[in-house]
């Protein structure tokens, strides 16, 4: 769906570090990306690759201290987010930008009714009256497919199943018609059938509401199904960025290739053992001076250990941060 329109969210050179007692953790290093209205951007990577931290950094949702956004330019509809006051940021959070988090079991406040939690953003951002807000809240619950919505407003989170709670979370995120929805592993904590339902729901809502979505996941299958463009993250950096079909057909980063190889095929011959990527994810104790994947990479050579590769364009809309060129089967020159 990418068209020529202006990006709604544009991030350039974002860097976030955590200052802990054992030293600094460089969780996000020089991350740049943008998303256009109505687009679905998938973000993949293993645990600790900086996917969530990147998105939380955008809206100042990380606990500070220890987290600190030390560098970067974040623009929402052209406005500089980092220069915003706390009050302006609050308007964005929940108003223009909705969040759905990973674990629906703990993401809802256990002592307040679902209705209260759903009405809260409506009252804050849209300044609705109590009555209007609860009417709207019931509509939202119905929108995300919760039967008997008006009655269930008075129920507490523990009276809902996991899938239903995630629907409630989505309803809360969508309450004020956000222009961007950031979904942080929204289906990871759910079982597979519920996961499929939630994905269907998001696809459907995207059609209806036309918002941009950032979908964070470690599940490539989910990405293949819903994303327009994909960011692959590793060690706090974006290592590859491509439209979804291009990424699956022509992966250019050894890490992306390795990730794709870990997925067993449904048809054809199968390996005796499941493939995995050998080695450990890098420690993030310092700003990367070399390629973070070098230690696990089958194609690594001297330059990879001496220099951190910058992202280079492979084809329109497709870039990769790697010195290896799969097209020639040798080091890339330039």
């Amino acid at each position: 769906m990418p068209d020529g329109s202006e990006p709604i969210l544009d991030v350039h050179d974002l860097k976030t570090i955590f200052r802990t007692r054992d030293g600094e953790v460089h969780a996000v290093n020089s991350v740049s990306f943008s998303i256009r209205p109505g687009e679905l951007l998938g973000v993949v990577g293993e645990s600790g690759s900086g996917k969530s931290v990147t998105m939380m950094s955008l809206m100042g949702l990380l606990p500070s201290p220890p987290a600190e956004v030390v560098r970067g330019d974040i623009r929402y509809q052209g406005h500089d987010v980092r220069a915003m006051s706390e009050a302006q940021l609050r308007k964005l959070r929940g108003g223009d930008i909705g969040f759905v988090f990973q674990d629906p079991m703990t993401s809802l406040n256990p002592v307040f009714t679902v209705g209260y939690q759903l009405v809260e953003p409506l009252r804050i951002h849209l300044k609705l009256s109590k009555r209007a807000a609860s009417v709207r809240a019931a509509e939202l619950l119905a929108l995300v497919g919760i039967p008997d919505a008006a009655k269930r407003l008075g129920d507490f989170p523990h009276q809902f199943s996991g899938g239903m709670r995630q629907r409630v979370m989505i309803a809360i995120a969508l309450a004020c018609d956000p222009k961007v929805l950031i979904a942080d592993e929204p289906t990871t904590a759910l079982d597979v059938t519920i996961q499929a339902q939630i994905i269907e729901l998001i696809k459907d809502l995207r059609q209806k509401l036309g918002m941009a979505i950032v979908w964070i996941t470690h599940d490539l299958g989910v990405i293949a199904e819903i994303a327009d463009r994909v960011l692959v993250m590793y060690g706090g950096q974006i290592v590859e960025h491509a439209p979804v079909r291009e990424l699956f057909r022509n992966p250019q980063h050894p890490y992306t290739r390795a990730l794709l190889e870990t997925i067993p095929r449904v048809d054809g011959a199968r390996d005796a053992r499941l493939r995995s990527i050998s080695g450990q994810p890098p420690s993030l104790a310092a700003h990367p001076a070399s390629c973070p994947f070098a230690a696990r990479c089958p194609h690594a050579f001297e330059r990879c250990l001496a220099e951190n590769p910058a992202r280079r364009l492979v084809s329109p809309g497709h870039d990769v941060a790697c010195f290896w060129d799969f097209a020639t089967g040798g080091a890339h020159h330039g």
């Binding site: 609050r90 703990t106 993401s107 809802l108 406040n109 307040f112 804050i124 507490f156 523990h158 979370m169």
Partner: protein, 337 residues
């Protein structure tokens, strides 16, 4: 909830009966003699007669049974008669629980002492809670800040320094050196106008503050721990992501959850306040329930000690139930059915 409450109350009856028996048995096993504090010139056979007149020649189970009749049947009837003005049966000759020292009904003694305890100790508990909650909340929210460090120091000191020390310290500083407050609590003082009210406030300040500091130290630690637990929770991030003001995030979302265990602790602490104020009451000469108990123990006044201790036990059982019920009210996940 009602069913649950009734069931718990039913279970409380055998529990309390057992407690009353254990107290009675322990007091009976203790080597005490109500005639020991009488002048040495009284000959042994007279002492024996005094003991017999107190019923001490009877077997322990019989004495226990008689106490039960007096406490569970005669005294409630008596209270009922006083409230309603009725006469039920032979109210003149009904045996009441009589203090061996003062020869007056124990219940009357307790009613006499109750106001002082409620004013001083009760007020100190309320005050302690009012001091503790803001300190706990702010310490947790600003963890490891100078305020938190100070709060920790304050509660460490408040918790580890006993009240007999802080009490005397207060007397030395505020009564002896500064001459601000009286060191002795005057129970006979009556509040009739603003001036006498001010006198009452002044004499209450020191005992109340000593106890309040002790209580605040404890509760503020509970509050801080509970807040810290909840500030880490995912729902806090959700609230922030909704654009809720920071103040509302902390004082509505987090506080509401954090109060659940703290309210329970506060409820469970209420009966301890009655028993635990003995020392402070002694220091400031507040003749409340704690002081009554000490005097009773010193004089081997078994009916008085038995009755007071049992009332403390009733309070503990009752406030345990209150704590459980509050838990059910505050936490929607808990349903008693």
């Amino acid at each position: 909830m009602l069913n649950y409450t009734l069931r718990r109350l039913m279970f409380a009856i055998p529990t309390l009966l057992l407690i009353s028996f254990i107290i009675f048995a322990i007091l009976d096993l203790a080597p005490n003699d109500p005639t020991a504090s009488l002048p040495l010139t009284i000959p042994p056979d007279v002492r024996q007669q005094i003991r017999e007149s107190l019923g001490l020649d009877q077997a322990m189970p019989i004495r226990y049974f008689k106490w039960c009749v007096q406490f569970f049947w005669n005294e409630p009837l008596n209270i009922l008669e006083q409230w309603t003005g009725w006469t039920i049966g032979d109210s003149e000759n009904r045996l009441r629980v009589i203090s061996w020292q003062t020869r007056s009904p124990v219940v009357d003694l307790i009613v006499e002492r109750m106001p002082q305890t409620l004013w001083v100790v009760g007020m100190s508990y309320v005050l302690g809670i009012l001091i503790a909650l803001p300190i706990g909340i702010l310490s947790a929210y600003k963890q490891y800040s100078w305020f938190d460090q100070f709060g920790t120091l304050f509660s460490m000191a408040g918790f580890s320094v006993p009240t007999f020390f802080t009490g005397l310290l207060f007397i030395v500083i505020f009564s002896v050196n500064l001459q601000l407050f009286p060191s002795v609590y005057d129970t006979t003082h009556e509040v009739t106008d603003w001036a006498s009210f001010w006198v009452q406030v002044r004499q209450m300040i020191m005992p109340t503050m000593v106890l309040a500091l002790f209580n605040a130290a404890q509760i503020s630690r509970f509050m801080r721990a509970s807040m810290l637990d909840n500030l880490q929770q995912d729902y806090v991030r959700t609230a922030r992501a909704k654009g809720v003001r920071e103040r509302s995030v902390v004082l509505i979302h987090v506080l509401r959850n954090s109060m659940i265990p703290v309210v329970t602790v506060i409820a469970l602490g209420v009966p301890q306040v009655f028993g635990g104020a003995i020392i402070t009451e002694q220091i400031f000469r507040v003749n409340g329930l704690g002081q009554l108990l000490i005097v009773g123990i010193q004089g081997a006044d078994i009916p008085l000690v038995q009755t007071l201790t049992f009332i403390f036990a009733v309070l503990i059982v009752a406030f345990n139930l209150v704590a459980d019920l509050l838990y059910g009210i505050l936490d929607p996940r808990i349903r008693y059915d």
